[in-house]
Symmetry: C2
Subunit: 722 residues, 2 copies
């Protein structure tokens, strides 16, 4: 079995949106949803752009979808041969994970349409497609192809002032509504058959209409080369788009694809995990790695990755803690330059975090829960729509999920500890850590007659329980942040000038003292029979089963959390919380502690977030519950392959790919099954290989070297790659 | 116009429940709802007992309704002559506020039934009724009278192990479910006509059935004397009930009523406010005073008054801050022995408040938001039922409405300041103040890098906004409480032994110091153009009209508050909050401040609580907005006369009388219109008499004296009563 591609046979309109995620091709700059060339808006085709945000009226700010330049629609004797309009004899679509290539094969009876396409990993502004048409009937064929502006938007429209030009190259330009960012899409078509050509320009875009007579047995080929640029890339997106189109056209489709393939080959050499013993699992893991690798911002040194990648506008295209806790590990161990980009994004958006803290009356840096460009907070106070009243409901993700700043610090510090490279700390990272610690200092509270300090009124990873006090995860992360700030003086003890400059720049002298005092005071979690209480009062909540809670739902789409949700008053949690803490600080807990907490919390976890299963799987490895770890690995790794996951939260669409689970799959394989740990460039492994696997092999970048790790039930090796 | 009674003509089944409140007769020990003798359970007849609580299964604990001993049902030739079953020719019912007497006159065509009844203010265990029947047709009459156990309960049943005996005196005994409190009800009937007598005992009670032949023109009279005792009154309720019945029977109905009338006369001499110029208003004020006077616990020295008085089981029969803020003023100025009872209730229930504070991890005294016997907290975590899902919703009245402890202290301190009497402080009051201040000390929070102290995560009087920080009312009340504790050392500077003993008993030495440090740190409210921000962030909420918010309701019965309610995300508030603060601390604010805040908050107030209008009226007097003060007075004073007020909160019945508004009506008249203020036995008046009134006259008890205050537009006098 080839564990590097996924193929789906048959066509049904209902799956088109989910398949748009599953067959996504992307290159970090843009994501082209896996819809067919002729897809109507109903099926949500989109060219989703990384880092280009727009807000329409008072709706949510979200990333912009570019006009779609690989649009093609075929008809024969005025009969459409198009999915969604015509029932096909057969249809197959396929994604090649190794190369990032989408292809389809559709038999319409009168003609067979085959195509493949890619967005170049070598030239991130470039998209290309190649179509092959085999006719089984004589007739008058028509191909309508061009740049479609009939865009799918969740909270649009976002593009205005459309202008079109045509000729050898079609060009569409527009500007975004809010910030007037110009955007250009060019497309060039090359066909190997004689035809008449006519241009159409309208509200739905600019198109060329090719008409040609065909005979049974005729085979016709069409190649499309397209380019997308925005004003964030260049002062003249239109010219750059046209130039790139023409250049690619000269280079030819095959050469362009070869360049992209080579780029993908380098990615896989650095990161591909080979699992032996279970091909389904191996495929799922390749898929996961593909979905995450395909959205890595390799073209930029200071971008991060949205929580639904480049699969659409879900979650406002914003960057969450997913970046630091779920994406970062694979990248830091395989492609540290991507990990650095994620962290530089946070360093460069520090001003946004300072502003947010000040907005709430605190000092220091409070990172956005949903970070958009410049660190602007995309999360609103009303993130859920009540399904009964259709009214927005006040949620507290924005203001109370304070662990986000510590999550950023966690990755910054782990980067230093894993790589031993202090360059990011010197280039702004230390300042981030200091400002985050200052935030926790000013957010902490102490009763005048008590010695300990609380973090009150917060939300931990389990979002179903809002506004709790002393969430164990949050308190530990805050303590880690404070400890990391204090550790800076140790890390840079050979550079007292650096610390002195930092102290002076941030007016930090008093804060060093306050932080030293704070650290020991942060409330430790309460425990009961070794089980950490998730937050103060958690054990007093109703202790009932997941089925009981699910049975209380009045509407399948209603939100489970908060005071009105079914989970809020119970011990049922959305996702790993105490267990996430234990996964992030493995050395701080004994196996017995881990086992007790795992046994308590796992049955009480809905796993209602794709961030949950991987934390449970990681920790399950350690305590020898390998059967459960394996189940949770399969669940995590296959999430985008089977196209599962919640599509709705209340009345809000939340579908898309799940990069956190994708990263989680790598974490379970490498950190869990293989027990990989790298500290200051020293690699150790303590494998827990499930019985389903015979061998696990993956590359790890350690310093300047790449090691190839092999784990079997007999032992492990780590060889330097030549 | 006689401004001392209310009469209603006509009968409609729909109004029977509301009329049960409006025609309530009560004596502090029990309340007999204003339903007719033959009322079926549907019309909610009840004999509501003060201070006797029971909890059935896991439902809400609530006061017990006793079996009903004034039940009478008439029939003629087997045809019922009973409201609810028979359409009357005419029906009138009436309540005499001066005497606390209910009467009715019902013409059934075939017969006319007249009755009157009272619960004795002189003998609080005694109830009596007198019926007169005038027959217009010959026939065979039947009167079924006795003790009905077909009880109306909101969260019952509460009585078990019923036992019945009959003879000259009917007796019903039972015990409560939870605490096995015995209860006995006896009834004796005297008739002036010949009849056959038969007894019936069944699930619905014990009855005597009197049958007699009547002729057109016959007039028959029946007198009922009944008694209620519980195990909280005496070890042998049954014997006491029978004995009292027999004694009253010997004494006779008229003599019993005379005793009660005399007791009422003393109440009115001490408290009746006479308004000249508007008879409707005068009647409404008499009604208000009646509803409040009739439920004063004069028979006990240590009881308080439930928020819906003795009109039923609404709000669990619990004692709220209404007692200290809304009931206390009339009593302290007219019947200080009742004010002392309210305060002694708090002093004696201090252990409950200490326990509640400890439950939440705090020191000191956190009084119950809904206080039941012994100070037990009757408020649950789920006080609202969602109308859309029918699920209970987590509310925060119990745990976050922390101003309650300061409200208790406010009344304790005001009692001392008004009367100059330190006996309550010496007899436990000082300890209450110290323990409440200690609670605020331990509830306060301070950020490690800030000088000020916050009260975070609270609810102020405006319950629609849950879990807010630095509610201006709460912070000021907490500061007053702390200041009152510190003032104890001044008040008792001549008794250093007392303070020393208190300090030692409570281990308070360190707390004195911490409190002294705390007082100046408590965050002062933010202001904008002189308007106090109700809590941190209030001004940032959506600023829209009451109509806009009301227009968003999806169901007339849905709850407005919390994160799901229509008011939560807006500046629309339930009731006076900043204005309540200004009403309680009139000397702390200038007229200009008051005017600015009044103008801002009044239009944003739903007045969704009967506690609201009176605070706005009181403050309106001061700033010369007498027309608005008058409107709000009329609204407040007439609430139980017109039978208005919300009947539902979500799916919870909240109907009943409104003692807080009743007390509020007195406050507006005496403290507002007359501008009464008594400090250490010195009376001052600064009248703001509305143009609708020509004269206002009322008694005030000052020390051992009673003064009769008269206010006209020309001036005022205060004469000593002879």
């Amino acid at each position: 079995m080839d564990t590097w591609y996924f193929e789906k046979r048959g066509w049904d309109s209902q799956s088109a949106v989910a398949d748009g995620n599953r067959f996504l091709i992307a290159n970090g700059y843009m994501g082209l949803r896996g819809t067919v060339e002729e897809a109507a808006r109903l099926h949500c085709p989109a060219v989703n752009l990384a880092g280009v945000y727009d807000r329409h009226a008072d709706r949510w700010r979200e990333p912009v979808n570019a006009p779609h330049p690989l649009y093609v629609r075929l008809s024969l004797d005025a009969r459409p041969l198009a999915l969604g309009e015509t029932e096909p004899v057969s249809h197959t679509q396929r994604i090649d994970y190794r190369r990032g290539v989408f292809s389809r094969h559709t038999d319409f009876g009168a003609a067979v349409l085959e195509s493949e396409r890619f967005v170049s990993l070598a030239q991130v502004h470039l998209l290309a497609a190649r179509l092959k048409l085999c006719f089984r009937e004589d007739g008058e064929a028509e191909l309508r192809t061009g740049i479609s502006t009939d865009l799918w938007d969740l909270n649009g429209p976002h593009l205005f002032d459309f202008a079109f030009s045509h000729g050898q190259t079609l060009l569409c330009t527009a500007v975004t509504g809010e910030k007037k960012i110009p955007l250009a899409v060019a497309q060039r078509a090359v066909c190997d058959f004689r035809c008449t050509e006519r241009f159409e320009t309208g509200e739905d875009g600019v198109f060329r209409v090719l008409r040609f007579a065909v005979k049974k047995g005729d085979v016709c080929r069409l190649t499309l080369l397209a380019a997308v640029f925005t004003g964030l890339d260049t002062p003249d997106p239109a010219q750059r788009a046209v130039t790139l189109c023409n250049q690619a056209s000269r280079q030819g489709y095959a050469a362009c694809l070869r360049e992209s393939d080579e780029a993908w080959e380098r990615v896989w050499q650095a990161s591909a995990v080979e699992m032996h013993g279970d091909d389904e699992a191996a495929l799922a893991l390749h898929a996961s790695q593909y979905y995450l690798n395909s959205i890595a911002p390799r073209h930029a040194a200071n971008l991060s990755i949205p929580a639904r990648g480049l699969s659409g506008q879900t979650y406002k295209g914003a960057v969450f803690w997913d970046s630091e806790i779920f994406f970062f590990p694979m990248f830091v161990h395989t492609q540290p330059e991507v990990a650095r980009s994620l962290l530089r994004y946070r360093i460069e958006t520090l001003p946004g975090a300072l502003k947010k803290a000040a907005e709430y009356g605190y000092r220091g840096a409070f990172y956005a829960w949903e970070s958009q460009e410049g660190g602007a907070e995309g999360c609103t106070d009303f993130n859920v729509v009540d399904v009964f009243t259709h009214r927005p409901v006040r949620t507290y993700f924005r203001d109370k999920q304070i662990h986000i700043s510590a999550d950023v610090v966690y990755a910054l510090r782990r980067y230093y500890e894993i790589t031993g490279d202090d360059s990011l700390l010197l280039a702004g990272g230390a300042e981030v850590i200091a400002q985050c610690a200052r935030f926790y200092l000013s957010r902490a509270t102490r009763h005048p007659d008590r010695e300990t300090v609380d973090f009150a009124d917060v939300i931990g990873p389990d979002e179903y329980h809002e506004r709790v006090t002393n969430n164990a995860f949050t308190n530990r992360m805050a303590a880690y942040c404070v400890e990391s700030a204090l550790a800076l003086r140790d890390i840079f003890r050979a550079r007292p000038d650096f610390i002195a400059a930092l102290t002076e720049k941030l007016d930090y002298a008093r804060d060093w003292e306050l932080l030293a005092d704070l650290l020991g005071r942060i409330r430790k979690p309460r425990t009961r029979k070794g089980v950490i209480e998730q937050f103060d009062g958690y054990f007093a909540l109703e202790d009932c089963s997941l089925d009981t809670v699910r049975g209380r739902l009045c509407d399948a789409r209603e939100y489970w959390g908060g005071d009105h949700g079914v989970a809020g008053p119970t011990q049922i949690i959305k996702q790993a919380d105490v267990i996430a803490l234990m996964a992030l600080f493995p050395e701080a807990f004994s196996d017995a502690q881990l086992a007790a907490n795992w046994a308590y919390y796992e049955p009480r976890t809905e796993h209602g977030s794709s961030l949950s299963a991987c934390m449970y799987a990681l920790t399950a490895c350690r305590i020898g519950r390998l059967d459960r770890a394996w189940e949770l690995f399969e669940k995590t790794a296959s999430i985008d392959l089977v196209g599962g996951g919640k599509q709705w939260a209340g009345e809000i669409y939340i579908g898309g790919t799940h990069p956190a689970a994708n990263g989680g799959a790598w974490m379970i394989a490498a950190l869990g099954f293989a027990g990989l740990r790298v500290e200051k460039g020293r690699l150790t492994l303590s494998p827990h290989l499930p019985k389903q696997l015979t061998r696990l092999r993956f590359p790890v970048t350690v310093g300047e070297e790449r090691l190839l790790v092999t784990v079997t039930h007999e032992g492990w090796t780590a060889e330097k790659e030549e």
